[in-house]
């Protein structure tokens, strides 16, 4: 009874299969091209960084003009300072903001704040630079009286403005993940709201805050544009005074990348290598922490 037929598609079906095949090949090729290009990016940083990665690079200041050797120690210290200042400003602020939105604010206001945080996150970082320049480099800040010149404070503040939405949004996300029955259980025991927030909600959300912070630190550490206006007039030695301008890794990479001096070019690659490693390690950490906290909170609810 069964008519014999070939399993080979013909006509329209063959055409469909061919199309499918081509689309698949297209996707694989596109993925290959893009992944290849990204791999070349990381690979060239690795290869070109090696000649300059030595002890002097980490411990010395820049060499005298026209001589080889030297390092970018001032930039390491400067970036650590800038990031520390920015973190110290942005973390408390961002967390308080997130608490307000998730625990107190009306839905509407919360949505508004979220929207504007996303808008702030989308501001070009160079515009943040103009803002900080106009606010505290060109003029003295009213009241505090700080400023009127470039400083690590100004640079740190610019980075803090960039970090704020990242920290705040992640914290909000985690706060909404904290199961409501935990809060209710706390209220049922007669615990007041602020104690509940401090001793029940926040401890459950701490990993989210850490995630947001590390992500933000990773982004801030590599920001160049705002620092150009806020913190880029620096000398050759290590500075630890935040009221003056300090060197930083991204600004050094920017300067050295345009230099004709191959010695400085290699140092730019080496600095890029250090920066990428820092960024990759911090984002790896944040990813691990976030996954874990999601799993934990997911299991608890």
């Amino acid at each position: 009874m069964e008519p014999t037929f070939s399993l080979k598609a013909t006509g329209r079906s063959a055409n469909r299969l061919r199309k499918n095949r081509m689309a698949e090949i297209g996707a694989v090729v596109a993925a290959g091209v893009a992944i290849g290009a990204l791999a070349i990016l990381v690979g060239s940083v690795l290869v070109k960084a090696l000649p300059a990665l030595n002890l002097d690079f980490f411990t010395k200041g820049p060499a005298v003009f026209g001589e080889t050797g030297g390092g970018i120690a001032p930039a390491f210290v400067g970036t650590a300072m800038l990031v520390a200042i920015a973190t110290a400003m942005a973390v408390p602020f961002g967390v308080l903001l997130a608490i307000f939105v998730s625990e107190f604010a009306s839905r509407r206001f919360g949505d508004q704040v979220r929207l504007w945080l996303d808008v702030l996150n989308g501001f070009p970082s160079i515009v943040i630079g103009i803002f900080v320049f106009a606010l505290m480099v060109q003029n003295k800040i009213p009241i505090i009286g700080l400023g009127h010149h470039q400083s690590a404070w100004a640079g740190g503040f610019a980075l803090a403005v960039i970090m704020l939405p990242l920290i705040s949004r992640t914290t909000m996300e985690v706060l909404t993940l904290v199961p409501n029955n935990l809060r209710e259980a706390s209220y049922a025991l007669g615990v007041s709201k602020w104690r509940t927030v401090l001793s029940v909600v926040l401890p459950n959300a701490i990993s989210g805050i850490v995630t947001g912070t590390t992500l933000a630190v990773a982004r801030a550490a590599g920001e160049t544009a705002p620092l150009l206006f806020a913190c880029s007039i620096f000398g050759q030695v290590v500075q630890t005074d935040p009221s003056v301008s300090v060197a930083s890794i991204p600004v050094i990479i920017f300067e050295y990348s345009e230099s004709p001096d191959t010695n400085l070019n290699s140092q730019a690659w080496a600095a890029a290598f250090v920066l990428i490693m820092f960024v990759l390690v911090t984002s790896l950490i944040s990813r691990l922490v976030l996954d874990r906290s999601r799993r934990k909170l997911g299991a608890a609810s």
Partner: protein, 349 residues
Amino acid sequence: MRKTALALVALLLTALVAVGAAGAKTGKSQATVINGAGSTFVSPLVSLWTPALGTAFDYTLQYSGVGSGAGITAITNRSVDFGASDAPLTADQFAACNGCVQIPWALAGTAVPYNIPGGPARLHLTGAIIAKIYLGQITNWNDPAIKAVNPKLAAGETLPDLKITPVYRTGNSGTTYNFTDYLAAVSPQWSSQIGRGQSVNWPAGVGASGSAGVAGVVKNTPGAICYVDTAFALSNGLHFGAIQNAAGNFIFPSIRNVVAAGATVKSVPAGNELHIVNPDKTNPLAYPISTYTYIILPQKTQNAPALRKMVFWALTQGQAGKYTAKLYFAPIPKVVLVASEKALQGISS
């Protein structure tokens, strides 16, 4: 897990600090810190002065080569102790700076380096040709006008069929001022269409920031040409052109030739503004794009004693051959030195 993560982040940060702090030995003591910013033109020289000033006075000089324009802005805001510029302050800038003094403190030539693979090592150029290149009218290295002034090339050297990429400074630059000042002096068309200034409306080419930036583009771009402090060209192995001066000679920015240009200053006007580009034909040796470069100081400053000492040192011992010679800076002539020292007396706290 959480703690490990936190600890890791903390560890990374402390590692950065510790590593840097290890290097902090260089800046350890309670030395007087002098902050300056501006000209990238003079920055190689300042870079050599810095360690010497450290031994002579225990001063820590923190100089940032951010460009003359940015240096003028910085000293106008008083965000540094001194600014440095290769262009004299404009009247507006003088007014804005509110009691500033400009003091000529170094003298050098602006070289015109080029990158022509297989090209001549000693290319001859005239002001008119350079102006036409930057106007976008001469666009190829095999242009007859360039060939005409380079009749005898050494064996194996050619002027190839290669696109010319003129490279200029972005932002405001004293080197740009002197270069455009020169072009305006030798080319009527440049003078009327573009003019002179710390930044101009470049009709052709690509921009890069800082002396290092333009030299970097030339080093990496076959066919490119730029204008930069001779020191940057030399230390990076770039060939630079011999420029025809008013007397008709093709002149390299060697110290002798820059000295000849500097010597055309017979008296220093009040305000210390000096122009030595394109000296007339009674100076057969003078390099036509030479420039005095200035330090800009506020008349009233807390750091006055230290600044006076530092600048006096720079004007005298700082002009010694061991600092200036290998960077092709010329010692400043007596008449300018006297004026500079006199201006320096006006700085007080």
